[in-house]
């Protein structure tokens, strides 16, 4: 296949407004493609080969000492610090925002020689109800607020309700919208419906960047995951994201490899860089390093920055803080030594 031959402009009805840079999202937006079912038919993902690759990556790559500290700090800047619980309250969200602005203790940053670098998390991720609270709490920090949307997590509310939910969050100041796809469309192979839905979400987002949550734990096979990834990118997703955190299985390295390889294929085809966000289940510092290795090896250096890489996590930050303190002091650290979010 030659790059460009499948690059067709979207039909006029689906034309999207060109997005202005918003929050940290400075890479050009993904304007999407017409749905190309031929590309989907070509998708091949061999599970065993995928598993062998992800099994070997942690053996072939390692970062130690100062390099490790730097990689972990970089991971902090990619975290979408998240609270998505039924018992969320404004105060809980404000506390999280405070943590997002100062995720690592100043004395640790100082010891690492990093006090001159502004270290914040990549975003705060909340339900629509708390978007305004978070926007206010983060005012002036440059940290974007991401809202989960479209009937998160199951995504089974009426389509027009989904669009109204997106618009409401954008109106409240959300710079990023994490939508959930209708899994039925993937499981029944109704790619046109998935494409149309995603395109509508993208249009409703306006200038806000859109992350498409595939709920890979529901899609089950890597072939489904890869196909859904492609369709969402063709329909204009700025990021593709694994999970809501509510499925039985959340982000895994195998799913990650399958998804980021479609990101690479999409870039080869269009020149457009789409971001990747694993979410759920990444709670240890050493786990996040494996994800970073995969991003660097399979996609390249740009995908280690928050513009193209986010990690949906709530407890990961605390473990990274402990590792960083250990790096500074040589003593193993404890959770209670680091302010909670």
């Amino acid at each position: 296949m030659e790059a460009g031959t499948n690059l067709k402009a979207l039909p006029a009805s689906g034309a999207l407004p060109a997005g202005a840079a918003h929050g940290r999202n400075t890479v050009p937006r993904n304007e999407g493609l017409a749905l190309d079912l031929g590309l989907l038919a070509d998708v091949r993902v061999n599970l065993s080969a995928t598993e062998r690759r992800v099994a070997s990556i942690t053996g072939r790559r390692a970062v130690k000492k100062d390099a490790q500290a730097a990689w972990l700090l970089k991971a902090v800047t990619c975290i979408d610090l998240t609270t998505l619980n039924g018992d969320d309250t404004p105060e809980r969200v404000k506390r999280l925002c405070a943590k997002a602005k100062a995720p690592v203790r100043a004395d640790i940053l100082d010891a690492l020689g990093m006090s001159a670098t502004r270290i914040t998390t990549g975003a705060i991720c909340v339900y629509h109800r708390y978007v305004a609270t978070a926007v206010e709490a983060l005012a002036g920090s440059g940290i974007p607020v991401a809202a989960v949307s479209t009937g998160f997590p199951a995504g089974l509310v009426p389509h027009d309700v989904k669009l109204r939910e997106i618009e409401a969050s954008v109106a409240d100041g959300a710079a990023e919208i994490d939508i959930v796809i209708t899994r039925e469309h993937v499981l029944t192979g109704n790619w046109q419906a998935l494409y149309d839905e995603m395109r509508d979400f993208r249009a409703a987002c306006g200038d806000a960047h859109v992350k498409a949550i595939l709920a890979t734990g529901d899609l089950k096979t890597l072939r489904n995951v890869a196909r859904a990834s492609l369709v969402c990118m063709m329909a204009g997703a700025d990021f593709i994201k694994t999970s809501t955190g509510k499925e039985g299985v959340n982000a895994t390295l195998a799913v990650t490899l399958a998804m980021i390889r479609t990101i690479r294929a999409y870039e080869e085809l269009t020149g457009i860089r789409v971001g990747y966000k694993p979410a759920g289940g990444i709670s240890a510092a050493k786990d996040v390093l494996a994800y970073q290795f995969l991003m660097k090896e399979e996609l390249g250096r740009p995908w280690l920055e928050p513009e193209l890489f986010r990690i949906g996590a709530s407890s990961l930050l605390a473990d990274i803080e402990r590792q960083l303190e250990h790096h500074v002091t040589g003593r193993y650290s404890a959770f209670n030594r680091h302010p909670v979010g």
């Binding site: 296949m1 091949r44 993902v45 061999n46 599970l47 065993s48 080969a49 995928t50 598993e51 062998r52 690759r53 070997s56 053996g59 072939r60 790559r61 390692a62 970062v63 130690k64 000492k65 100062d66 390099a67 500290a69 730097a70 990689w71 700090l73 970089k74 690492l112 020689g113 990093m114 001159a116 670098t117 096979t221 890597l222 072939r223 390889r261 660097k296 090896e297 250096r301 280690l304």
Partner: protein, 798 residues
Amino acid sequence: MSVAEFFDSMDYGSAPEADDAVRAWLQRHGSRFGHFIGGRFVEPAGGRRFDTLEPATGRMLASVAEGDTADIDATVAAARAAQEPWSWLGGHGRARHLYALARAVQRHGRILAVLESLDNGKPIRESRDLDVPLAARHFYHHAGWAQLQETSFPDHVPLGVVGQIIPWNFPLLMLAWKVAPALALGNTVVLKPAEYTPLTALLFAEIARDAGLPDGVLNIVTGGGETGAALVRHPDIDKIAFTGSTEVGRQIRQATAGSGKSLTLELGGKSPFIVFDDADLDGAVEGVVDSIWFNQGQVCCAGSRLLVQESIAEPFIARLKRRMETLRIGSPLDKTIDMGAIVDPIQLHRIRELVETGVAEGATLVQPQTALPQGGSFFPPTLLTGVHPAATVAQEEIFGPVMVAMTFRTPEEAVQLANNTRYGLAASIWSETIGLALDIAPKLKAGVVWINATNLFDAAVGFGGTRESGFGREGGREGALDYLKPRAWAERRPLAAPPPLPETAIQAASSGSFTIPPIDRTAKLFVGGRQVRPDGNGSLPVLSPQGVRLGEVGEGSRKDIRNAVAAARGAEGWSRATAHGRAQILYYLAENLSARAAEFSARIAAMTGASVDDAETEVEASIRRLFAYGAWADKFDGAVRNPPIRGVALAVNEPIGVVGVVCPPEAPLLALVSLVAPLVAMGNRVVVLPSERHPLSATDLYQVIETSDVPAGVINIVTGPQRPLARTLAEHDDVDALWVFGDPALAADAERLSAGNLKRVLTDDGLATDWQDPAAAEGAVLLRHAVQVKSIWIPYGE
């Protein structure tokens, strides 16, 4: 670099593995080692030593003993003394020892891995994650075979003292592959590690001794080629197991010819890596990395010929080039590299020369912009594109990190290109279509086939080659059998010299009289399904023991052998025929032979002087034997192995191909049937040299064959002087195996001459076979030699 600099660059930095435990071990030995003989380190008799170096730096690691004939004598004597008590210990006792060795390898995993990487130059990731765990797995698995020996191999006995010579690319792992089965099944071992990489064997010997392995059971002699040659020549060795180059394999084949030593060879390769247009291309790119850049490409089974379907060649090569840019080359002890050092400057030089030749012959050179470390023997990952089968680099084993790429149009062409090599070790097939992948796997000339994978190894799955990649298997049940011999064969006695030939031919009584003579019957040769005159148009008399002329047979020559082999090669359809179909024909042969039993009995009696009763017994036994192989044809089948992956590995019994059969002088019908029937039952095509003295039973058989629907070319019979005909067969490069029974001198000749294409040779070692005894001459005892096991790895999952 500071944290801030790493934060900006996001480089990996280095992650070195500590080597202090290894340095301390070397220091304890004063960086000086003797041979390990009879449970202790012994200075070399001749006092000669050599240094082993660190490939990554060129620095000396240790001084090692260079073994000579006296050292070999002492070592073999130690192994011999230990063999009977080791064997008498019984399966369970040996299982306990093997289990202890497995645990010991795990317990000392780290020091073994670091020492291996220092001495060999391979990345610590590989020695830690592959070599050492696989070595431990081999001892565990073979502890199992020891435990089950009495029940699983009740009709077999150990070979005795085994000499093992292993290469430098996987020093510890090859030791495990060799030592574990040998010891498990009651043999004792003299092992010579490679000159470049002797240290892990010495450390292992120490670990094994500390784990309680009795003295003399495992002995290590270090040294180079001369030391190995002395081991090969030693008369008190019962088997040589060699892994290494095809060139040295040939020398060993010649050196052991006629010695009665068992031999298994695991040699070089130029294995194909086939990517179809429906493959997971990213998965296949990663497969290439694991195939040719694993262990710096110094892997005998490395997929080193990339065959890509033309329709996807461009994107595939583009992705491969991109991937090459992210490969990291560095210190073997750095945990964040993909490739370490080439084992020795000599190898590095050879790789460079071959790559230069490839480019000179028109290939396009692709190498990443990766910096190489200074000081040691390093070579970048290399891809040569636009290579044609005629190019040197497409045919020669490079044994380095160099992939050569070419394209194919159709599955048929992929098979043709894949098999266009003198080697036959391994192959990788990449396709997401199960029908395609499983169709290609049996068509490839290789001992191991990986589907959507590469370089998978396990102790439960046989590994080994065909063609000039050698013979014999390591791992699995088939590997265990290569360290045993049938009890019925072990009890054979040396052949008695045949009675002298009668001085002169006496004409038959009716000859020359005025009675109506019988119609002349001129026995011809049987080639390609037809009775043909010998090329030289000559004949030889056949005499009874009293010297009575019983008839004449065609005097076959080189050219008749050539024609017979061509006919056998052409009868390829027989190898693909169903086992049921082959069984029907064997039964039919039995039926038609039975119809003419009286005639065959009379002929045997006349030719051999046997009593009519004995002759009838021989014919009856021959009919039974044909029935036996009709029965076996669809029952000597393969197995499904259970390696520790999600998937299966099939052990498929495949025919070897074209097999020459040299029949012994005695039992002119039964011996021929006993040798031909198992081969034919398993799908081989044969060229038979019948009993030189009593050939008429074979020529009488033509009509039986002709009336039994045996396809043309499956059984070819060439009468005449066995010696020159057997030599021609042994030298013939299109003959895949040779069975020689009866004449020890002929067997020695055949073994020596077989070195050309390294065909598998089965001989009776100059021992007499009781053809009437099914234990010695019927069933699995021979069927095993009529097939080669192909291991087909099929990982699965969606």
